[in-house]
Symmetry: C2
Subunit: 912 residues, 2 copies
């Protein structure tokens, strides 16, 4: 068995045997990069060690075998290990096949001992340098080899005591020769006090520095092997699902120093900008910092003021040229942005490490797209490097990472984005402040449809109650607002215009807060945010042609669309929503809620109220006539915006009482409107409204008189809606658009009712075709009640498509109103009883099972059945994966979630 590999004997694909670090060193060496010479003891040798009875004998055998390899390192570095004259020092580092951050054991400066310390100082960099190196060796060696708290504490105490003599706030670097000498002595005392002197006896007492050094090396290797089976390592392995007997390789590498004089230096760099993804242009071709005559850790620690990397070009032009050549070669070789450490020792450049550079979401996007264009990677790889979670970040403003923040409180992160604004406690106040050009955060106990204008006028919404799918969360998210819900510590006194947040008072219209809908945290005052270019393009505030980010985004969407199989549509209710959706890559509208424009336009809501109050079919139809052209106008806008793509229009869904006025004032307003229009006694109309309100009042409206049930009792409503859709199709065609309509009925439980509603639509279609020519549509149903899922085989025979309303399906399957579930649902989710948050990720045991059953049964009786999902789950990557596996043709989600869904759908294909 070959237990040891010399530099040049391996490559990057030998991670299993040589560990990640060892394989990477091999690869750099093979590429001709100057790395300090090294050899690697294999993971196989480590496993052998685990099972060996006489571990000491095995280590001695390894040391025997290591001798020729050590010789090669000495030759290569031109130094001699353990010699008194200019001795070679080595590091010993563990390195498993799988990276185990924080588990790595490192011992530097092996090869220093009492007997060669002086000559080392003389031959290299002076006494202070040598003493500092020696005390580090003693400390690291002690910590690793003995792995005992007493030892560790002993070193720390000694350090503190020595520092304390110099005064307060003394840093390691403040220690002079005198102090370091004392420290070395004290460290030796720690060894003695713990009865461990024997181990480094050679080092402290033997005058043969070679023998002493070999001894150090042997103990170090032994310690690394041992520590990879220690308590901490085993816990980590178990936690990460790694095999307990996974061995580690041990790298023994020559030390180089960047602090030996003015011909030495050290630095770190990225091959591209890790914040923006930019590639170096003429001026700035590398991104990093360096220091003259310094150690690597000095650059990172921020103790000394570093210099930008290009300054190296002036100080050491040849070294700099070599460095540039090397790092770009490495980037090209690894096909990714590199994070590199280097050291210049006495005028010679050594590369210490190269690895994938960590970067921001924006940098991920830019790097990936640029590298495709450079021919470095293909589109699949580009998509692989840019996840749905990165997309989410790019869609919203984020706090400037440089700004200071003082946290006040926290709630559930319900709509991403990080924004600041004056607090407003009523929608009216929010609108008022908004008109004054102020940024506003709407702070409410909860929100309802009546608050929508205030929500629109605000940058963010922050509520006391409600869960992740409450009105505030759903509607706020739809409008792409930052939203925090369910902060039960929030107290609002609307009358006094005061709120208590985190124990502090905030005055309406006067005090600022900042909220992160991404993390759920609430901060005091204004925290500066960086806007999202993509969001600004979508809102029409920025010309897409002028946005570089948007163009990168477009490229990435193109790659993702080419990979994904699942369709992605948007939930959008208006022409402007639809335009945004299309800009974001939506391949159709999966859910147009016809009632939303009714709520938002005063004229429509008044006509709806009139319709509901009507005493007979005739007056009902008259009132509907007023709504028809308004609905139609909206549909035309949507058809135009989505020309050539399918638009799924849902017939009226909510219980009628949602349309009726719900306060005395609004009842008065409604009565006035009706009297103005038709005459009549105001008092009588008012009491008529109140009677109708009490008739329509339901104890559980979610399980009430809605959806298809309305079409069964009041078929004239569905007729009106169908008419307005077909008329809109005709008008859109005249305007040159290509309308593709899919009409959908909600709240279905059985085949009879959906056939009934389908027949209403079909009859209208045939009538309208006589006037307008061909008006082909698909007709389908929501599957959002458990019964519909259970009876899907029969229902499928009367429809062209199913659209799964997984929000309501979850609520009914669990008997759980998401708006009020917060009180207990947090407990359920926290204890893992439901395997996740069921209103965020589809619950596979509950509604998920019903979805699968419905798909199976539906396809059996209607193999052409089209399948989609609307509702919040359509934007959740884990749910999207489930839906694709379940056989969906598409998912539909809020316009701002479309890019996320597209990426998630593409990642499914990459995963499989």
């Amino acid at each position: 068995m070959k237990r040891i590999y010399q530099f040049g004997e391996g490559n990057k694909d030998m991670k299993e045997l040589l560990g990640g670090k060892g394989a990477n060193l091999q690869e750099m060496f093979n590429l001709g990069v100057e790395v300090p010479a090294f050899f690697t003891i294999t993971t196989e040798a480590c496993k052998e060690y685990y099972s060996a009875k006489d571990k000491d004998a095995l280590i001695r055998k390894v040391m025997e075998e290591a001798e020729p390899y050590l010789k090669q390192v000495e030759e290569k570095m031109g130094k001699s290990f353990g010699s008194k004259d200019k001795p070679l020092l080595v590091s010993v580092r563990s390195g498993a096949a799988v990276s185990m951050p924080g588990m790595m054991n490192t011992i530097l400066n092996i090869g220093l001992c009492d007997s060669n310390l002086k000559s080392f100082a003389k031959s290299f960099s002076g006494e202070r340098f040598a003493l500092d190196g020696y005390r580090r060796l003693l400390q690291m060696f002690g910590d690793t080899v003995f792995d005992a708290k007493e030892v560790e504490q002993g070193f720390k105490d000694a350090m503190e005591e020595v520092k304390a003599k110099l005064g307060k706030d003394v840093k390691d670097t403040d220690l002079g020769i005198k102090e370091l000498k004392e420290l070395v002595e004290r460290f030796k005392q720690v060894y003695k006090d713990n009865g461990l002197s024997e181990v480094l006896k050679e080092c402290f007492e033997n005058n043969d520095s070679r023998e002493a050094s070999i001894n150090q090396l042997r103990h170090a290797i032994d310690a690394v092997f041992k520590s990879s089976q220690g308590h901490r390592a085993l816990v980590y392995k178990k936690q990460e699902g790694l095999p307990a007997d996974m061995g580690t390789a041990v790298n023994v590498q020559a030390m180089v120093f960047g602090n030996t004089g003015d011909d030495s230096a050290t630095g770190v760099l990225f091959t591209r900008n890790n914040a923006t993804g930019e590639k170096g242009d003429g001026k700035r071709i590398l991104y990093g910092d360096w220091l003259l005559n310094a150690q690597g850790e000095d650059v990172v620690a921020g103790i000394r003021n570093t210099m930008p990397i290009e300054e190296l070009g002036k100080a050491m032009p040849e070294i700099y040229a070599e460095l540039r050549k090397t790092v770009f070669m490495l980037e090209k070789h690894y096909k990714d942005m590199q994070d590199i450490e280097f050291t210049v020792e006495e005028g010679k450049l050594w590369m210490l490490q190269t690895r994938m550079g960590k970067r921001s979401s924006l940098a991920k996007l830019v790097c990936a797209v640029d590298m495709v264009k450079e021919g470095l990677i293909d589109e699949r790889e580009a998509v692989r490097r840019f996840g749905p979670e990165d997309m989410e970040v790019l869609m919203h403003p984020v706090f400037d990472p440089k700004s200071e923040k003082k946290q006040l409180s926290s709630g559930s992160a319900a709509g991403p984005g990080e924004v600041s604004g004056l607090v407003a406690f009523t929608p009216e106040k929010a609108v008022e402040l908004g008109k004054q050009g102020k940024d506003v955060i709407l702070v409410r106990p909860e929100t309802s449809p009546e608050d929508v204008h205030g929500m629109l006028a605000s940058k963010g919404i922050y509520t006391r109650t409600g869960g992740l799918t409450s009105h505030a969360a759903i509607v706020g998210k739809q409008f792409n607002k930052a939203v925090i819900v369910g902060d039960s510590s929030l107290q609002i006194d609307e009358k006094k215009g005061l709120a208590m947040i985190g124990g502090k008072e905030f005055k309406e219209g006067q005090d600022y807060i900042s909220i992160s809908g991404t993390t759920g945290k609430v901060f005091e005052g204004r925290v500066a945010s960086i806007e999202s270019e993509i969001e600004r393009v979508a809102k029409g505030e920025l010309d897409p042609l002028k946005s570089k980010v948007y163009s990168y985004f477009q490229d990435m969407m193109g790659y993702a669309k080419a990979i994904k199989k699942l369709g992605v549509r948007a939930n959008a209710d208006t022409g402007s929503d639809s335009r945004i959706a299309r800009l974001f890559g939506a391949e159709g509208i999966g859910l147009l809620r016809t009632e939303h424009t009714m709520f938002n336009e005063p004229e429509q809501i008044m006509a709806m109220r009139e319709m509901i109050l009507a005493a007979d079919t005739n007056s009902r139809e008259k009132a509907l006539m007023a709504i028809e052209p308004l609905q139609m106008k909206n549909f035309v806008e949507v058809f135009k915006a989505m020309s050539g793509l399918p638009v799924t229009i849902r017939l009226l869904d909510p219980p009628l009482d949602e349309f009726l006025p719900n306060t005395s004032e609004r009842i008065r307003e409604a009565a006035e409107y009706i009297c103005r229009k038709y005459g009549g006694e105001k008092a009588e109309v008012e009491s008529q409204i109140r009677r109708r309100l009490s008739d329509l009042k339901e104890a559980n409206p979610m399980m009430g008189f809605r959806g298809n049930r309305l079409s069964v009792v009041y078929p004239e409503i569905a007729r009106m809606q169908a008419r307005s859709i077909f008329e809109a199709m005709y008008k859109a065609k005249l305007a040159g658009a290509e309308p593709v309509a899919e009409i959908m009925a909600p709240v279905t439980i059985c085949e009879g009712e959906i056939r009934h509603t389908g027949e209403i639509v079909e009859k209208v279609r045939k009538e309208m075709e006589k006037k307008f020519g061909k008006l082909p549509i698909l007709f389908g149903t929501m599957i959002e009640t458990p019964r519909a899922a259970l009876d899907a085989g029969k229902i499928a025979q009367s429809v062209d498509f199913f659209s799964f309303g997984t929000n309501d399906l979850t609520q009914l399957t669990d008997g759980m109103d998401r708006n009020s579930a917060g009180v207990y649902l947090n407990e359920y989710v926290g204890r893992g009883w439901l395997g996740g948050e069921p209103f965020v990720t589809i619950d596979k045991t509950g509604p998920g099972k019903l979805v699968e059953m419905a798909v199976d049964e539906g396809k059996k009786t209607n193999p052409k059945l089209k399948l989609g999902v609307c509702g919040e789950h359509g934007a959740d990557p884990e749910s999207i994966y489930f839906f694709e596996k379940a056989g969906m043709d598409y998912v539909s989600c809020g316009a701002f979630k479309v890019p996320i869904a597209i990426l998630a759908a593409a990642h499914i294909e990459l995963k499989d």
Copy 2:
């Protein structure tokens, strides 16, 4: 092929061939009973007729074959068919294998014609008799043979015109010889006018009366065959699922007459009392009526005053003795009460018909039990003869059938029973009137838990809104009140103390109405009712030992229990409920709602309110301490009442806000109570209550913070309930009872929460066992959310039993609140979209499928799993059948429904 069967050639088992009537005649003949001689043309011959091309030829062939049989009849009767001297007349009647009521074609008096009419009159019973017989023949013959509206109308017009000459209100019997003669002539004219004279040409013109009679017979047989394939018959067959080519047999039977003089008579009788089921004792041994010198139809028509059957004993002692012997022989032979027709013709007794006697539900019970005791039938047969629907009738008062009723309106029949009372519009008024000893009907828009005292004080409940499972229906039924719900025409003006019912005004406390919760009809004024003895026994108003009906009921329950396999338990909340349940045969309590006593006892509800208002766990536990002994006391009563039988106790189910006061006045009361008990500012406590109310308020409470969810957030509630149960077990044991407890948690969706609640109960059990010794229980869960059904395999691992709450399961599966569903559900049910009323009979496609899935999955992971159903479906026979097939161990239903469920369960075994 033998097409004709003579008397004596068949028996009662030959219905397929001879039809029901023919087979029955055969049987009587075989028993030696004197029946007028007859022969039967088979159903096979009829089928042959259907497919014959030359039908006329076939009929002629049949007539040829019939000749010897006719001769036998003539010989037997000592008369000659078609002769001029004392001719034999015959009837021709259809008679299929399956009875087709109203489809039967009958032609009497065949054998009379112009040429023998006079001699018939002379030889038999005079001219009027002969003419009346003849005109009947002509009419029946014409109607049957021609089956044409014009003909039928022609006969009717002729009759009216002839009667009109005699004056107003003339009856058939008022017609004299002159009028009958005219009628015969006019009937002949009808034949002529319709071009039909040819058929009866022989009869009117031929002097050969034999030939004419044979002709009549041939046409009559032909007509009966033909009419069994006529439009009316085919519609009937299709409707009843009978094959269209099912033939009919034709019976040709000698006529006998009870109106030939004072040695003739006719009568009908039952062998037992068809209203009470009583057997004849010394005084009254037969139940029926007779008339001297009369025709059978005169007895039934009520034209003449009939005499009680025993009078026949005085008038014709020998005949009477023979009759008694014959009918009891027939009863014994058929092993059932017989409904018999007889005629005495010139001193000779003829039996015309015997069949099973139709009887009241009470008579069914009494006859069946008596016959078991007489050894006539076995227990299985007794149960077969007494259905769940009969049981239902016996449990409630019914309107006296003799009383006159004027219907006002109608609603949904929601709780059986027929009662009268003064209208009351508030629970307070109902209680007030009740205290005055008045019968009350509580008339309300709808009812809520706050109305319970008023409901208890009333005989019946009548509401404007709500469906079959609304509060009024469920709670009213539980208290065994007559209930009508959902009469949307009902208008109540509480302030004025007025209601409009069916367009009439009713004053509170002054006007009476009567309601039938069995039919849903509402009547004006007081309609006399007959009380239910069984109900009175259950209510403790009647000593069971003194009630004969109750003792019959007990016997029947005994038979049914021995047959049935499915267990039947009761839903009962208190000791007195439990005693009733046990009296009614319940084999345990399947559902004890712990919150019901909380609602009904002021002390408990106050303590509950205190608990809910408590700011922390500590004060919550203090308030719970006050509830614990009250709950315990109730449990002890129940355990004692149900000693030895299992009692399923459900932990707290409803959302907490149901316990809080819901009006300003009640909030004030609650605040006063709390201040009295603990001191404090009333205003502050009031505002505290209001705050808590608004915190707990849910938009959809049915899908809210209830059941297990309460145990998760407030485990102290479940702990208190568990403590009180175990303490009650101990106390009940001390009192000599044998408590068997099954504790059940409601509103489960996943395994984690039920394990959590189970652990709370188990921990309390172990603690209590230290004090009290062994306290074994079963722990289980309701399955009432779709998710619980879908996850049943996992949930079953943490419980001993499932109890299906099919009410909530239906509501959630359909997303349909039963309390408000009336608006549209009627449409769905009416159009057959759901295959039935889903809240009455379990919907097999929806919740039914979930029940089956849950049973399968649950049994897989826990083969010992006990399975039950609580909820209204447990009392519905069709649902019970489904539940037994699904594998349930028991159903549980309201105490008053227990006997019905027991019978339904027994009938399942009889059916299979």
